[in-house]
């Protein structure tokens, strides 16, 4: 019972990060139909932004989060506008390969600048924790979850309440009708891709608080994002959140009760089951 409660908490805490990781990926995939393989590279860029600001000016990672989000937003906006935009209507495989190439380029530039050394951020409060009964919770992870929830709620508010957000949703529903209604598609595509990159950057900052940094650190998170999107349902904020939390809990229980070596396998088996039983994901809407 003691273990069960601790694993549940661990899973939810990890799931918060996974949700932010999946959110940007889900937006780009759901709205633009691009499986963005550069997502991991953007996560790495966010993490290194946090590292540079921390090691140079001792800026707390939670404070560098908006900066990393902004930086990656503009970077992503530019990448979409001047690179991906040329192939956005091409068959699925073309942007897929393009983002793969981008990822390789970014990771190798990072390798050139930062070398392959493992880096990390250790703050004054790293590792401090509270105990509730037999369950121990690290403050860093708890705050990370809170920030993850703020980000997802903010994103949801943006998409439902703002004019740009509504235009994005209209574009996702029917791109031609949206265009006829005056939506500037190329600009909005760049906004969506920028948001995707910005959210990846924010996730990178959160990740930098708990994990070590190296240029290829983002790669495993692309698979995580993919699984969370499919689990939760594509293109919606709630889908990413549910997918992320579910993945976190599944992984935690899987590694405790099925076998630590099989933690990924358990989550992937559930993914397969979801694909068979409910292919649109838990919260995904059926398409005609």
């Amino acid at each position: 019972m003691e273990l069960f409660a601790q694993d549940l908490v661990n899973g939810i805490l990890a799931g918060g990060i996974f949700a932010v990781v999946a959110l940007g990926f889900s937006l780009v995939w759901g709205i633009m139909n691009i499986i963005n393989l550069a997502h991991g590279a953007y996560i790495m860029m966010g993490a290194y932004t946090s590292y540079v600001l921390f090691s140079t000016w001792h800026l707390d990672p939670f404070l560098s989060l908006p900066l990393a989000f902004g930086l990656l937003y503009f970077f992503g906006y530019g990448v979409q506008r001047f690179v991906i935009n040329y192939v956005v209507r091409a068959p699925l495989l073309t942007p897929f390969l393009l983002t793969f190439g981008l990822s390789l380029l970014i990771v190798n530039v990072a390798l050139f600048i930062f070398h392959g050394d493992t880096k990390g951020i250790t703050t004054q409060y790293s590792g401090s924790n509270i105990s509730i009964g037999t369950v121990t919770i690290a403050w860093t992870k708890l705050w990370t979850l809170v920030v993850a929830l703020i980000i997802t709620t903010g994103m949801q508010a943006f998409l439902t309440a703002s004019r740009t957000g509504r235009a994005i949703r209209a574009m996702a529903l029917d791109i031609d009708a949206a265009q006829l209604a005056g939506v500037r598609v190329s600009h909005l595509y760049a906004v969506v891709y920028g948001l995707g990159a910005g959210l990846a950057g924010a996730a990178g900052v959160l990740i930098s608080l708990s994990y070590s940094l190296q240029p290829s650190m983002g790669d495993p998170f692309v698979i995580t994002a993919f699984v969370c999107c499919v689990l939760g349902g594509l293109g919606t904020v709630q889908g990413a959140l549910v997918g992320g939390l579910l993945y976190g809990v599944l992984e935690a229980f899987g590694s405790q009760y099925v076998g630590t070596g099989l933690q990924d396998a358990v989550a992937l088996v559930v993914l397969l089951l979801v694909l068979i039983i409910r292919p649109r994901g838990i919260l995904g809407k059926a398409t005609a």
Binding site: D117, S126, G127, S210, A252
Partner: protein, 411 residues
């Protein structure tokens, strides 16, 4: 003609400058030729960092030998050179490049790639081509269970990695009785964990937890909570740097206390101390070599660990890690074997490697019939107040083990 004149002048100038600088310490210019070694090392990919450390270790030896009179083979003096290719951290690429080094570049001696996986594919190729390879960065005993005759590893094999910590633990008071062992699920790490478990079982300790997690995992919280529930005296990990960092952080986050925290990889890399700061204190690490270990090496190369470390630091601007040292040691095995063989024939050099028995700044270089250096003990390091100290074996230690590790809330 223009090309020759333009190219000729600097060449002459450089030759003159070389003669001036090298004539005094040793007659390097009297070399009768150059022995070219070949190596496929990662310059890109996941082990680019380790590949770079390996290359530094090889190059340090090359520069030292060339500036101290070269290698004596029978009556002739040879300079040395190393031809490198980038194996992109990929075992298949490493194998292909070694084939290229031997068949196209006509290299007769191979210095090993980085890592057990790449060393394993490389070993299969050199065996087929009958060219000796000495490596310092692939310690999985599985490479050496294939009956290969041409691959030699200077480092102690994987199963010994954590045994030094256990040997040391048996001398401490109170003697730790229970052990938890978490390993990554790759061949090498599993071997490290099994070696530790076997040793613990054979010496009256109880292994209360032995489990594998996926290599390069981003989440070890389930492993940590399971270990916490068992309250072991010692917690050992066979894995990689990233996992060691993640485990140590998670142990603190979940307030897991033990008398000994020991890692196969991590504590002796500067990154471990830099990343964790004071949370790295008290941690033990099994290590192949440490700059503070007091070995006395044979003539022909720097015999003292400290002197090696200082000279290396001067050349590369950082102190050598064990990756650097074991790479240099691989070159030394070749150097002593070639000198003893008195020949550049690959077969004769292989035979000399098989019978090599020499102490170097890195420790003993001696191979069993499989090519494994089972004669070399693992040293144990401990981080004490941010400094890496050698605390075991007794003969080479420069500090006493700090024990037991205090609980997190009392540090």
């Amino acid at each position: 003609m223009g090309c020759i004149r333009v190219g000729g002048f600097p060449a002459l100038a450089i030759a003159g400058a070389l003669a001036l600088t090298t004539a005094v310490p040793a007659p390097a210019s009297a070399a009768n030729g150059t022995i070219v070694f070949g190596a496929a090392l990662a310059a890109t990919g996941s082990t680019a960092r380790e590949g770079e450390l390996t290359k530094e270790g090889y190059d340090f030896w090359k520069d030292y030998v060339n500036s101290h009179g070269g290698i004596k083979v029978a009556d002739k003096i040879y300079n040395v050179d190393i031809k490198y290719y980038d194996d992109e951290s990929n075992p298949q690429t490493a194998a292909r490049l070694i084939e290229k080094l031997v068949s196209e570049d006509h290299v007769s001696f191979i210095l090993g790639p980085y890592g057990s996986a790449n060393s394993a594919t490389a070993a299969a190729v050199v065996e087929r081509l009958k060219v000796p390879m000495v490596e310092g960065n692939g310690a999985a005993a599985s490479i050496f269970s294939q009956g290969y005759k041409y691959t030699f590893a200077v480092l102690a094999p994987g199963f010994k990695y954590l045994q030094g910590i256990l040997e040391m633990a048996r001398t401490l008071k109170p003697v730790p009785k229970t052990v938890a062992i978490a390993t990554a699920n790759d061949t090498f790490s599993v071997e490290v964990g099994q070696g530790a478990a076997d040793y613990a079982n054979a010496h009256g300790m109880t292994v209360v937890y032995q489990n594998k997690y996926p290599a390069a995992t981003t989440d070890v919280s389930a492993v940590v909570s399971a270990i916490k529930a068992l309250h072991p005296d010692m917690i050992l990990n066979g894995g990689h740097l990233d996992e060691a960092l993640l485990l140590q952080r998670t142990f603190k986050e979940q307030s897991v206390n033990a008398k000994i925290f020991g890692y196969s990889v991590g504590p002796d890399t500067p990154d471990f101390r830099k990343t964790l700061g004071k949370d790295a204190n008290w941690v033990f690490g099994g290590t192949q070599w440490s700059p503070t270990a007091k070995y006395r090496g044979a003539p022909g190369f720097i015999g003292d660990s400290n002197v090696y470390a200082a000279a290396f630091n001067k050349q590369y601007g950082h102190l050598p890690e064990y990756h650097n040292a074991e790479s240099t040691a691989a070159c030394l095995a070749f150097m002593y074997a070639i000198e003893r063989a008195g020949s550049l024939d690959p077969q004769k050099v292989r035979d000399a490697l098989q019978h090599l028995d020499v102490v170097t700044f890195y420790g003993i270089l001696k191979f069993d019939s499989r090519g494994l250096n089972v004669y070399k003990p693992m040293a144990v390091n401990q981080i004490q107040n941010g400094e890496l100290m050698t605390v075991w074996p007794l003969g080479v230690q420069n500090a006493k083990p700090a024990y037991p590790t205090p609980p997190w809330n009392a540090r």
